[in-house]
Symmetry: C2
Subunit: 159 residues, 2 copies
């Protein structure tokens, strides 16, 4: 089973692909989509959508995983992030990739064993679990963590 | 100038198309996109995206107008609405239709002359302004109101 983890962010959207065979997890690829800061919201949404569609075309995942949105933010950034998340979910469904979601706490717990882990701890554990030569950047690590979480729990409820 | 107004909602997205020639405004079409309640979030986003793309293909607007998101809601519905809004903005940009936004207060003021007008007042004024045989349903009326607002103010800043 090939799993695409996505961390939809207002300015950076991380992604990571893993393969799960039996109980074995293998890293395939990761990256970050970063529209230029000068782009308008519309242009950034188009960039996220096209880049993610290209990732899906290239790696053909059977499943996509996104984090729940974290409610603690201010409303402005919450709205911006949710707009990106809508576009991300659409990009998956338009290519017939079903999407599941996990809470940030579930994902951190699955990867670090501790729900309030810091970004750096997630990066270090992802490096160890996937046997990477170095830790991926923070947003790609979060995306890979979401994928690893789903590899463990295999929640069935689709978004 | 042909203007597409859109009222992106979690469960119903209204749309309305008007033509502006000089100071004259003419109604072209309106409608509401209502994914079946049984659909999942992903399926609803696909439905909104495809239906709106079809509207854009059919009417070829030169400009699209959306309301700002209203902050007063609870966070859950705010997130859901913002996800729909992201998909709506993307659908416009993917067909090269620039998008502008207005605050709900600006739109109501432009149409009813009073920022805190109720839905029914907006529907009645839209019926009168566009010389419709009857008032459009609430979400289509809001979409037409956004289009009429832009016909009056022609804000230049794109989303």
């Amino acid at each position: 089973m090939r799993i695409l983890g996505i961390d939809p962010g207002s300015h950076v959207t991380g992604w990571g692909v893993i393969d799960k065979t039996g109980n074995y997890i293998r890293h395939v690829a990761f990256g970050e989509i970063k529209p230029a800061k000068a782009l308008s919201l519309s242009e950034a949404l188009v960039c996220f959508s096209e880049s993610l569609t290209e990732v899906i075309r290239q790696f053909e995942p059977g499943m996509a995983v996104v984090e729940n949105i974290f409610y603690g933010k201010n409303v402005r950034s919450l709205i911006r992030q949710a707009q990106v998340r809508g576009v991300v979910i659409l990009a998956c469904c338009a290519r017939h990739v079903p999407v599941v979601e996990y809470a940030p706490l579930e994902i951190k717990k699955a990867v670090v064993g501790y729900g309030r882990a810091e970004k750096r701890q997630v990066q270090a554990m992802i490096k160890a679990i996937l046997k990477l030569p170095q830790a991926p950047p923070a947003d790609a690590a979060d995306a890979l963590a979401a994928a690893v979480c789903h590899a463990n729990f295999q929640k069935e409820q689709r978004l």
